[in-house]
């Protein structure tokens, strides 16, 4: 079992009711973690537009390890 630090921002954290959680998952990659997380927070997948792993924005599936930080981010609205 891995424990990931998962961050949420903007409208996404309204769904999870938290900006930071420790999330346990057997998954060893991002696709698996997303699947597990979206089961827990059903509405989350609709609000997420970008994901960062250890502060690097990723476009596709990547391997994960225990302790990684994963940020689920809604569409940006800076400026």
């Amino acid at each position: 079992m891995n424990i990931y630090t998962v961050l949420f921002f903007g409208a996404s954290k309204e769904i999870t009711k938290s900006s930071k959680i420790s999330f346990e998952s057997k998954s060893n990659d991002l696709t698996g973690l997303k699947s597990d997380l979206y089961k827990e927070f059903i509405e989350l997948s609709d609000s997420v537009n970008a994901i960062a792993v250890n502060q690097q924005i990723v476009q596709e599936n990547v391997p994960l390890k225990d302790g990684d930080e994963i940020a689920f981010m809604p569409p940006f609205s800076g400026g």
Binding site: G10, A11, S19, Q55, P74, F76, S77, G78
Partner: protein, 150 residues
């Protein structure tokens, strides 16, 4: 619209950010311009009317280390692309009231055309690439997260 935000900003472990400013951005002078052209863009909070409610302020949420890194990357890439003499970006986090500045871009180049193009490209890239989120508050104490499409 929600009535009250129950959540605060993520903790900021390192405050030594060059591009992120808490609250409104005041005038920042740029020295040794060594001209020709100096173009400056300021993003100012508008008192928009949304569903009958007037905007009072915006609370900017930022993914700090990633936003800082991306703003720095944009600055360096545009500096090189347009062969600028100087380029600086400042973006607010936290509360910025109507009429206050939340984004400042300063560009210095030999000629005006590159300066205008570079400044416009920087603002477009910030809106598309920087992990920053606007929480718009209204005069009746309600708020909503803003989804930009401009």
């Amino acid at each position: 619209m929600e009535t009250k935000s129950p959540l605060c900003h993520p903790s900021q472990e390192d405050k030594s950010f060059l591009h992120l400013v808490e609250g409104p951005i005041n005038d920042i002078s740029i020295n040794n311009i060594n001209g020709g052209a100096f173009v400056e863009f300021k993003g100012i909070i508008r008192a928009d009317l949304v569903k009958g409610q007037t905007v009072s302020h915006i609370d900017y949420e930022v993914y700090f280390p990633v936003a800082e890194s991306i703003l720095n990357q944009i600055e360096q890439e545009v500096l090189e692309k347009f062969q600028l003499r100087a380029c600086r970006i400042f973006h607010s986090y936290g509360m910025v009231k109507v009429g206050e500045c939340s984004l400042l871009v300063q560009v210095v180049s030999k000629h005006r055309k590159e300066a205008f193009k570079a400044c416009s490209e920087i603002v477009d890239r910030i809106k598309g690439e920087a992990p920053v989120w606007k929480q718009e508050f209204y005069t009746n104490q309600t708020y909503q997260w803003v989804h930009c499409n401009h």
